[in-house]
C-alpha cells in the first residue's frame, strides 16, 4: 500500500505540473490572423457530391469552388471558376469558359476535363446534390478551358443550381480510388479542391484546421485570414461561454435565448442574413376534416404568428407572405398576410360544421432542436382555444419523411421548413406543391391542383422573364387561396461573432457557409 501512496503522490505532482504549464503555455499559440469558429456538428465528408448537406458545404466554402457564385447584394450569379457563360437552344445548352490560372491543392491545373469529371462522377454516384441535376445528361469538353452542358429538357432555373456544384480534382480522385468507391473513403477525411484554404488537419468531433493555400489563383493581397479552425462543440451553452471569453471568434449555433444576452454584450455582434427559408405547417389535405378548405383557413387564422416571431425565432425573422420566402425573386407581395383572428376562425369552423371544434389532430415535428418543439406546442395551445385537441409526435427527420411519403400515415399536420438550394422559386414550389411530388415526402400536404401543375411545367421553360414572373406569382396566389399549408415565417439566419471580425456576408444559396477569404480581423484583445 506504500507503493499505492507513492503512485498517488506522483500523480498529484503530474497533475499540478501539467496544469500550471497549461495555464501559462496556452497563451503561446498565435491566433492573431486565425479565425476560430465553433460549430456543433462535424462534416461527414469533404466530398463535393454531398454539398446538399449544410455541414459538408461549410467546408466546401473554404476548400472548393464552383463555376459561379450567387451574389446576395445583386441577386445575380457572378463568375467564379468560370469567367463567363452563355445559354443556347432555349435553356438546353450551357457553355462555360474557365479562368486559366487555377490550380488544385494537389498541384494539378483546373481544366474543363475536371469540370466534366466532377459532373460525370456526381451522376454515377447519384447521391447528395445529384438530385438537383436530374436534367443534365451530358457534359462535353470543347477545349481545355471551355465546357458545354447539355440538358435533356430545357430548364431556366438550371443555371442557378451551378453554385452548389463544387469542382473536384480529377487526378486527385483517380489516385485515391479504393474498391471502386469513387474515392469516397479518401474524401471522408481529405479534400481535393482549389479553394483558398487547404485542410491541414481533421480530427472528427474535435476540430478541422484549414491553412491558406499559397498558390490560390485570386492571390492574397489585401486583408484575409490566413488560418481557419472549425472547433466542434456540441452544447450551445459551451459555445456561448467560449465566445464571451473570446476563445472563439464566431459561433454558428446561438440559441434564441442567447441572442438577447449577446445584444447586450459590447464585445459581441450579431450578423443577420435574409434567407430563402420558409417555415410551414403542412396540412394533410387528404385527411378529414382537413380536406375542407374552411377548416384549413380556420387553422391558419388560429396560429399566433407574433408569438412565433418573438419566442420561437427570438425576434429574428418575419411573418411569411405566401408559399415562398419574401426575399425570393418573383415573390408575390400582393398576397394577404394572415394574422391571428380567433373569432373568424371559430366562424369558419362553425360554417364547416364544427362550432366547438371537437376533433383531434396528430402533429408531427422533428424532436431534435427546440424550434420545432416550441412551434408545435404554441400551435397546440392556440388550437385548444378552438376546442381542437392536438397530439404531438416528436420524431427524427427521416422517420417524419417516411410518414410524409405515405398518404395513409397518422400525422395530419407537419412542422416543416424549406431551404432552397438556388435563387429560383421553382424548386420550392415544385418540390412542395406539384402533384408529381405527392409521395416523395416534400409534398407533405398531398396537395394537387392541375392549374398549379400546368403553370409550373410551363414556367420552367419560359424564356420571357416578364411572363415567367407573372406565372410564378399566379402559382403563389392559387396556393395561398387553397391553403394546403400554413405559411408561418421566413427566419433570418443569425450567427454571433466578436466585434473584431469583419467582412462576413450571409449567402442564402450557400446557407450557413462562411467564405473566410472575405473575412479579416482587427486586432484581437
Amino acid at each position: 500500500m506504500k507503493k499505492l501512496l507513492y503512485i498517488l503522490v506522483m500523480l498529484m505532482l503530474i497533475i499540478v505540473f501539467c496544469f500550471v504549464n497549461y495555464v501559462f503555455a496556452s497563451a503561446d499559440q498565435d491566433f492573431s490572423n486565425t479565425l476560430v469558429i465553433a460549430e456543433n456538428e462535424y462534416p461527414s465528408s469533404f466530398d463535393s457530391v454531398f454539398a446538399d448537406n449544410t455541414t459538408v458545404e461549410r467546408t466546401m466554402a473554404l476548400s472548393y469552388e464552383a463555376l459561379l457564385r450567387f451574389n446576395p447584394s445583386t441577386n445575380e450569379l457572378e463568375p467564379w471558376i468560370a469567367s463567363k457563360w452563355s445559354t443556347l437552344e432555349n435553356g438546353k445548352v450551357f457553355t462555360f469558359t474557365l479562368n486559366q490560372n487555377i490550380t488544385f491543392h494537389d498541384g494539378t491545373d483546373l481544366t474543363a476535363s475536371d469540370v466534366k469529371f466532377t459532373f460525370d462522377r456526381m451522376r454515377e454516384i447519384d447521391q447528395g446534390i445529384a438530385y438537383e441535376f436530374g436534367s443534365l445528361y451530358r457534359v462535353e469538353v470543347v477545349d481545355d478551358y471551355t465546357v458545354k452542358f447539355f440538358l435533356s429538357e430545357a430548364s431556366i432555373p438550371f443555371i442557378k443550381i451551378i453554385p452548389k456544384m463544387y469542382i473536384i480534382s480529377e487526378e486527385g480522385v483517380k489516385a485515391n480510388i479504393s474498391d471502386n468507391d469513387y474515392a469516397m473513403t479518401y474524401l471522408a477525411n481529405h479534400e481535393l479542391g482549389s479553394g483558398p484554404y487547404v485542410l491541414t488537419s481533421f480530427a472528427p468531433e474535435q476540430q478541422a484546421i484549414f491553412s491558406k493555400y499559397d498558390n490560390y489563383w485570386k492571390g492574397w493581397e489585401g486583408n484575409h485570414v490566413e488560418k481557419v479552425i472549425w472547433q466542434y462543440i456540441k452544447e450551445s451553452s459551451t459555445q456561448r461561454l467560449l465566445l464571451e471569453k473570446g476563445d472563439v471568434d464566431i459561433i454558428m449555433d446561438p440559441s434564441p435565448d442567447d441572442l438577447n444576452a449577446f445584444r447586450d454584450n459590447s464585445d459581441i455582434k450579431l450578423a443577420e442574413g435574409t434567407t430563402f427559408i420558409e417555415d410551414y405547417f403542412h396540412l394533410r389535405t387528404t385527411h378529414k376534416p382537413l380536406d375542407d378548405i374552411r377548416v384549413r383557413k380556420a387553422l391558419a387564422l388560429a396560429y399566433d404568428y407574433d408569438a412565433h416571431i418573438a419566442i420561437v425565432l427570438g425576434g429574428s425573422g418575419t411573418q411569411a407572405q405566401g408559399p415562398i420566402s419574401s426575399s425570393m425573386i418573383f415573390h408575390n407581395n400582393t398576397l394577404p398576410i394572415t394574422h391571428q383572428d380567433m373569432a373568424k376562425a371559430k366562424a369558419l369552423l362553425a360554417e364547416a360544421g364544427y362550432p366547438n371544434g371537437g376533433f383531434t389532430f396528430k402533429l408531427a415535428y422533428t424532436g431534435i432542436g427546440e424550434q420545432d418543439q416550441r412551434t408545435a406546442v404554441l400551435f397546440q395551445s392556440n388550437l385548444a382555444e378552438l376546442g381542437i385537441t392536438v397530439d404531438l409526435m416528436g420524431m427524427t427527420w427521416d422517420y417524419m419523411f417516411d410518414m410524409e411519403q405515405d398518404e395513409n400515415s397518422e400525422p395530419d399536420i407537419y412542422v416543416e421548413h424549406f431551404y432552397s438550394n438556388s435563387a429560383d422559386p421553382d424548386s420550392g414550389l415544385r418540390d412542395i406543391y406539384h402533384s408529381e411530388s405527392r409521395g416523395t415526402g416534400s409534398n407533405a400536404s398531398w396537395y394537387q391542383n392541375p392549374k398549379v401543375d400546368e403553370l409550373l411545367d410551363s414556367g420552367i421553360v419560359e424564356m420571357d422573364l416578364v411572363k415567367r414572373e407573372m406565372d410564378y406569382k399566379e402559382i403563389q396566389k392559387i396556393i395561398a387561396e387553397d391553403v394546403p399549408s400554413i405559411f408561418i415565417s421566413n427566419p433570418k439566419y443569425i450567427i454571433a461573432m466578436r466585434n473584431y471580425v469583419n467582412g462576413y456576408r450571409y449567402n442564402p444559396v450557400n446557407h450557413e457557409c462562411i467564405f473566410a477569404y472575405d473575412i479579416y480581423l482587427d486586432e484581437k484583445p
Binding site: M1, K2, L4, L5, L8, L11, I14, I15, F17, C18, F19, N21, Y22, V23, A25, S26, Q29, F31, T34, V36, F50, D52, N53, D126, Q127, A130, Y131, G134, D181, T185, A188, S201, A203, P204, E205, Q206, Q207, I209, K227, I229, Q231, Y232, I233, K234, E235, T238, L241, K245, D247, V248, M395, T396, D398, Y399, F401, D402, D431, T440, G441, S442
Partner: protein, 334 residues
C-alpha cells in the same frame, strides 16, 4: 482456473451472437430509412433505391444478418452510412478516445476514491468523512450532465484554470495514431508539451465521468474497512504491537479491498457505455456519442459495431473481476 476461463470465453461468444441478433432486429424495427439518410433528404425515390441496393438493405433480414456475421469473421464491420468509411476504421479513432476517458476515470476512482474511503473509515465524523459524504451526495445524487456543465462554467468560464473541453487545445494537431490515446501517443512521440496539453484536457471530463463510481467505491471501501477493522484478527494485530499504519494499510485494506475492486472491475464496461453525456458536454469525440448519432440517423453498421465493442469490453471486465476476486481471496476457486 484455466477451464473456468475457457468456459467463460466460449460463453462470451454465445452472448455476443445473441446480442448481435437482438440488436439487428431492434435496429431493423426502428422507424426511419438508412438508405434515405445516405442518399439525402431530397433524393428522388429511384436514387434512394439505388443506395439501398448498394448498402445491401434490399435483401431479406436474415441474409443481411448472415452477410454481416460473415464479414465480421473476415475482419469487416461494414461501412458507415454517414461517413461511408469502414466502421472498423472509425472505431479505431473513437474507441481509444472513450477508452482514454475511462482509463482516466479509473485512475480517479482507484487513487482518489479508495483512499478517501479508507480515511473516512479511520476518521468518522471528521473533515475527511464529511468531505467523503459530500462527494457521495454529489456523485450519486446529482446528474452528470448538470455537474459537468457547472464545473465547466466555473473552472473554465470563471477561473480559467482548466480547458472547456476537447482532447487538445485549439490549433494543436493530434499525435500520429499509435494507440489512439493522445496522452500515450504524445509520450511515444516524445512531445511532452502535447502530453501536458492532452493530460490537462483529460482531467475534468474523466473526473466528471468517474464521480458516480468514485462516490460508490469510496462508500463501499469505507463500509468494508469499518467492518474489517472490527474483526478479531485486527484486535490481535494491534495487541501484538503492530503500528497502526501497518494494521490499516497492510492487514485491513487487503481484506477490505476485494469487494470494492471486484465491483469496480464490473463497472468498467458500464463506464465505457455511459460516456455519452460527458463526451457531449466536453466535446470529447468518443464512442458514446458515435453510437448515439448512429441511432439517430439509422447508421446500422456503426451502431452494431460500437455496441459489440462495448459488449465485449463489458464481458471481459466481468471475467477480469472474477479472476481478480480469486486472486484477492485465495479461499475462492472455480
Amino acid at each position: 482456473m484455466l477451464k473456468f476461463i475457457i468456459r467463460r470465453l466460449l460463453f462470451m461468444v454465445f452472448i455476443m451472437v445473441g446480442i448481435s441478433i437482438l440488436l439487428f432486429m431492434i435496429m431493423y424495427k426502428l422507424p426511419g430509412d438508412p438508405a434515405r439518410t445516405a442518399a439525402g433528404i431530397r433524393a428522388k425515390p429511384e436514387q434512394v433505391e439505388s443506395v439501398r441496393r448498394q448498402l445491401g438493405l434490399d435483401k431479406p433480414l436474415h441474409i443481411q444478418y448472415l452477410t454481416y456475421i460473415n464479414n465480421i469473421f473476415r475482419g469487416k464491420l461494414g461501412t458507415s452510412v454517414l461517413t461511408r468509411k469502414p466502421v472498423a476504421s472509425e472505431l479505431k479513432v473513437y474507441v481509444p478516445a472513450s477508452f482514454e476517458l475511462v482509463l482516466g476515470a479509473m485512475l480517479w476512482v482507484i487513487f482518489f476514491g479508495v483512499p478517501l474511503g479508507v480515511f473516512s473509515a479511520l476518521k468518522p465524523g471528521k473533515l475527511v468523512d464529511i468531505f467523503s459524504r459530500f462527494i457521495t451526495a454529489l456523485g450519486m445524487g446529482m446528474p452528470v450532465f448538470w455537474i459537468g456543465l457547472i464545473a465547466q462554467m466555473f473552472l473554465y468560464g470563471k477561473l480559467n484554470i482548466l480547458p472547456f473541453g476537447g482532447r487538445l487545445s485549439m490549433g494543436l494537431i493530434p499525435p500520429p495514431n499509435v494507440t489512439g490515446l493522445y496522452t500515450l501517443d504524445a509520450i511515444f512521440m516524445r512531445d511532452f508539451n502535447l502530453f501536458k496539453d492532452a493530460f490537462v484536457h483529460l482531467l475534468l471530463p474523466s473526473f466528471i465521468l468517474a464521480l458516480p463510481e468514485l462516490a460508490f467505491i469510496s462508500r463501499l471501501t469505507q463500509n468494508s474497512m469499518i467492518e474489517v477493522l472490527q474483526m478479531d484478527y485486527i484486535i490481535v494485530a494491534r495487541a501484538k504491537g503492530l503500528s497502526e499504519k501497518r494494521v490499516v494499510w497492510i492487514h485491513a485494506l487487503k481484506n477490505a479491498f476485494s469487494a470494492p475492486m471486484t465491483m469496480f472491475s464490473m463497472q468498467i464496461g458500464m463506464l465505457l457505455g455511459g460516456t455519452i453525456l460527458v463526451e457531449s458536454i466536453f466535446s470529447w469525440g468518443g464512442l458514446g456519442y458515435l453510437i448515439f448519432q448512429g441511432i439517430l440517423i439509422r447508421d446500422f453498421p456503426m451502431v452494431m459495431g460500437g455496441t459489440l465493442v462495448i459488449t465485449f469490453v463489458f464481458m471481459v471486465s466481468n471475467l477480469f473481476a472474477d479472476i481478480l476476486y480469486c486472486y484477492l481471496d485465495p479461499r475462492i476457486s472455480y
